[in-house]
Amino acid sequence: MDKINLTIDNKPVQVDSGTSILKAAEQVGIKIPTLCYLHLEDLNIENKPGGCRICVVEVQGRRNLAPSCATVCMEGMVVRTNTVRVMNARRTVMELILSDHPSDCLVCAKSGKCDLQKTAQDLGIREVHYKGEQSHYKEDRSPSIIRDMDKCILCRRCEMMCNEFQTVGALSGVNRGFDAVVAPAFEQDLVKSTCTFCGQCVAVCPTGALTEVDHTDNIIRALANPKKTVIVQTAPAVRAALGEEFGMEPGTLVTGKLVTALKQLGFDYVFDTDFAADLTIMEEGTELLTRLTSYLNGNKEVPLPILTSCCPAWVNFFEEYYPEMEDIPSTARSPQQMFGAIAKTYFANKIGVDRKELVVTSIMPCLAKKFECQREEFKTDGNPDVDFSLSTRELAALIKQSNIDFLSLPDSDFDAPMGESTGAAVIFGTTGGVIEAAVRTAYEVYTGKPLQKIDFEELRGMEGIRHATIDFNGLPINIGIAHGLGNARKLLDSIKAGTCNFHAIEIMACPGGCIGGGGQPLHHGQSSVIMARQRAIYQEDANKPIRKSHENPYITKLYEEFLGKPLSEKSHHLLHTHYFNRSKVKVVIPKSKS
């Protein structure tokens, strides 16, 4: 590749051709502030509208200031990032942005984690010299996400995630000039849009404009109610990220501290969603083998490939955009809902508590889980299987509010019986993990032989779409994997077009899977954070004494005592679901330049 030489603030720098001034400056230790720019390098996600104009720099010979994020380095360029002209322009633009912002930082959900607040501080803004009308919009509260567009700075990151990465098309810029805002079509509420509640808009929002619905207060009240038995389940991806909220290095596993914290908070039983993940593998894996065997026996009507159904945003997505393919995904409920169904029947019966007095809560890396647990089909006589779903961020807030010094906590173990799990369940938290877990079990069940090697490296990685062929003792099984709904769309379209021959496909809505979920600690554009969480997940798997779901002794016991066998009538009733046509619009989303 051609090399380009230039100077930035008198420092010579050599870069590959096509490099932006912003990236070139980073190479020589110059960090130009940005607001709208976002680059998750390992995930190939970039937002570069050149809209905020905070990153402007002076380029010798150029009439106006250049946005460093979008301006490509040229040979011999002389760039200055900190002249009086640049600094005045940058501060003025920041003051303008702040002049149309509520500035209620002290009570804002994003305070302390807000990119706008931090950048304003870094620029040394002590006074806003420009005042005038401020934008006001009605608050939009969906089951998962709150939109407070008074705080929107039009960085368009959410729009990019929603349209380009997820191809969901729920959010876009509407209106002109000062009235411009990012909103669903016709400025309707999110619930009326095509939103899947994946929460990726929240994950990238630099301000408090997009936040999750906060259920911490409901939990505090339930815990304080002596009539209620309150139990909690924690998803695999939470333990690999929660520590970040307390200043720990990304990728630090905090499983033991997490359990201790939950016990100190007063939960009667601290369980693990991983238990339900093992259960999912039993049901979903059996479903895969049943469909596959039927197909191999000549029944060509069997819908293949089978698609995973653990991810609630993904379920919302295909119900919205591919309702005609509703017989393809597995009917297995997600681990959160399997856990809830078992907790409010089997476990409630075991401890002699009426389901209405049993409060099932979940700690999830996800915002779509909040929507999922409110679905009508997951309720019995109006009582939901899972009462409240909290994000990783909300749990951190709850721990802080309860005066628990997380860093000094000792480790504890999950309670039995629903706290026991295998390594296969842990990897549900990353892209490729669910299908690897399924393969570990399906292989042994199908071939009747033990696996020589438990790790399926060929299924791991961070590529948006991956595929691999696993040899089931002479039977080649073709596996597809996609994370990000835009990538899922590509796979679905190829199924529709009949151009792929997969037997099973794993889909997760968020970048990297649940580790990059919409409810996780904010990554602030650092994809290395998501990579570190992935490493932690695989480390936890490797450390587990049992690494195959069908070997979980408590799962075996559950089938013996309660369910019978996978896909039994009871299983169907409690652990499986059906899908609905939620299609609102037929749209083709063209790929756009940002």
Binding site: P67, T92, H129, V174, P590, K593
Partner: protein, 597 residues
């Protein structure tokens, strides 16, 4: 009796049409029919003559008699007197506002004398709905010449050598743009015509499309030949129904004549044109925003590069030129680049069409060679300032241009001179204001337009222009401070320096240029809290001069808020704390007793 064939040209542009010019055509034809002259005299509905000030316009050929402000009722007299008896209808002739003489021949009109019409060559001379009339005036001759005599590269070279620059406002060398698009390799390329004329008051593109649509179609085909494209798209605002209709007719006729479609003129070159309608957003005149709008996306700009020449409509190389730019192409091909480059100044060749408006006598479309001075345009072509008032300023370049003053009157108009003086060419808006105009209010007026029309994508344009407008609002209400002027200037400079597209990069021009040239007016507003032009209502005080007041009570009775008190036959007074400055008292007073200061 009439022995030779005569033509009666009736303006059918949007302006004259809305003043009933179609009925004039009907009436003229009926009169001719009744007098048995239908075969002898032809009535032609043409495009715009440019002299919109006095529309509807009717011109008789071959004697160039120019009738103005014609009504359908005048048809009888025109036929009976002029056509049959050979006597001009004196009262309908144009009266020069300066000399007060009636002009017999349009060639004697100052409005036309200094004009050189290249882009507007056919407007007012042909029936735009008849391709034969366009062909009779060399229409499609340039296309034929290109296809049969020149290679694409040779055509590009002619355009490059001519020095033609984009007439939409950017002033980018047209030939260079064509060359870049031609060099990019792609399976599909597009020729795009920007007909999203958005400057308030500017209507040259509309007039060309209404009066001479074939000139644009031909030039687009030539561009297709040069750049290797067989697909043309005209992005035209839906508010131009007549232009759309005539363009459609012209495209159909060109098809029927083998001048569009497959194998044009048997040369094997294919070219077709489709229309795309815009919803009238000003920012969609910016080429990247225009392309997004055509793609069905939100009309907002993206940073360049990549330029549309490399990556445009649907990601394919696209050559975007404005209507007026295309209208210059055929004459350049036919008369040569040397001819074209001999007109104009060193760096701005050819002519430019301006939409002359405001407080001048002759409002209309004027096309003059580059290098013509503002004085010539305003005082000779424009006939000077209305009602004998003094010239104060001229705003060029549309809403985001700057205000130039008396000291700029002898400035030869070209791209670079206008920018150097703090204004710009833009698409050719030229609005003249007289001494009674408040420059602060004027700046606010233009700024408010860009506040409305900003797409909202980048922060300085979205919020900054709004804040500037709010500060100006405070100043015109008499609540401004000297610090507000510092804020205004800083905002204006930062918005220009940091905005994403041409809209934001120029939107502060009206404010910055009026601050540069009329600082005393701003200071009067913020220091003395007075509006020197007496236009800012909140800064006015109405009072009754005791000497003149006879106590008739008329003012007190007309006052809508009962701010005036006084006994009959005694001097009245206005309570300024109640007065809403509506001016009703002043209008009512027969004794000149009410004054405003």
């Amino acid at each position: 009796m009439v022995t030779q064939k005569m033509n009666i040209m009736v303006c059918g542009g949007t302006g004259c049409k809305s003043s009933n010019s179609e009925l004039i055509v009907t009436e003229l034809r009926r009169e001719l029919q009744e007098n048995g002259l239908a075969d002898e005299v032809q009535v032609v509905q043409t495009g715009c003559f440019g002299f919109c000030e006095k529309g509807p316009v009717v011109k008789i050929l071959p004697d160039n008699t120019f009738y103005v402000t014609v009504t359908p009722e005048d048809a009888h007299e025109i036929i009976a007197e002029h056509i049959i008896k050979g006597r001009k209808v004196h009262r309908l002739l144009f009266k020069d506002p300066v000399t007060e003489e009636y002009i017999n021949d349009s060639k004697g009109m100052n409005f036309y004398k200094k004009q050189l019409r290249i882009a507007l060559r056919n407007c007012g001379f042909i029936n735009p709905e008849n391709i034969d009339e366009a062909i009779a005036r060399d229409g499609y001759a340039a296309l034929a010449k290109c296809l049969t005599e020149y290679t694409p590269a040779e055509v590009v070279d002619i355009i490059k050598k001519s020095g033609l620059r984009g007439r939409g406002g950017g002033g980018f060398p047209t030939g260079l743009k064509w060359e870049i698009t031609a060099k990019v390799k792609a399976d599909q390329k597009y020729v795009i015509c920007n007909a999203d004329e958005g400057d308030p008051g500017a209507f040259m593109d509309r007039s060309i499309l209404e009066g001479d649509p074939h000139s644009v179609i031909e030039a687009m085909a030539i561009n297709g030949y040069c750049t290797g494209s067989n697909k043309g798209l005209v992005y035209i605002r839906a508010e131009y129904p007549l232009a759309i209709e005539r363009l459609k007719i012209a495209i159909n006729q060109a098809h029927e004549s083998g001048l569009l479609g497959k194998d044009i003129l048997g040369t094997g070159f294919d070219f077709d044109i489709e229309l795309r309608y815009g919803a009238g957003a000003f920012v969609c005149g910016e080429e990247t925003a225009l392309i997004h709008s055509m793609e069905g996306k939100r009309g907002e700009p993206t940073f360049k590069p990549p330029f549309p020449s490399e990556e445009g409509y649907l990601g394919k190389p696209s050559n975007v030129n404005n209507v007026e730019t295309y209208a210059n192409i055929s004459p350049i091909i036919l008369k040569g680049s040397d001819w074209f480059s001999s007109i104009g100044t060193e760096k701005s060749k050819g002519t430019k069409v301006f939409a002359l408006a405001g407080n001048v006598n002759n409002v209309g479309l004027v096309e003059v060679p580059m290098g013509t001075t503002l004085r010539e345009v305003i005082f000779e072509i424009g006939g000077g300032i209305r009602n004998g008032k003094k010239f104060k300023a001229v705003q060029t370049g549309g809403p985001s241009g700057g205000c130039l003053t008396v000291k700029h009157l002898d400035l030869p108009i070209d791209y670079d001179n206008l920018i150097a003086s703090g204004s710009m060419m833009g698409s050719g808006g030229m609005i003249v204001v007289d001494e009674d105009t408040c420059m602060v209010s004027l700046a606010k007026f233009y700024l408010d337009f860009t506040v409305e029309e900003s797409c909202g994508k980048c922060s300085p344009c979205r919020i900054g222009n709004k804040r500037m407008s709010e500060i100006l609002e405070t100043i015109t209400k008499g609540k401004g401070t000297p610090e507000d002027l510092d804020r205004l200037r800083n905002l204006g400079e930062v918005i220009k320096d940091t905005s994403l597209c041409g809209l934001g990069q120029t939107s502060p021009n009206p404010v910055l240029s009026t601050m540069a040239n009329f600082m005393n007016e701003y200071e009067a507003h913020v220091i003395d809290h007075k509006c020197p032009a007496g236009k800012c209502r909140d800064l006015m005080t109405y009072r009754i001069e005791a000497e003149n007041c006879v106590g008739c009570t008329a003012c007190a009775r007309v006052c809508p808020v009962s701010a005036i008190s006084g006994e009959r036959k005694e001097v009245h007074t206005i309570d300024t704390s109640i007065c809403i400055k509506c001016g009703a008292c002043m209008e009512k007073c027969k004794f000149n007793a009410v004054f405003v200061s």
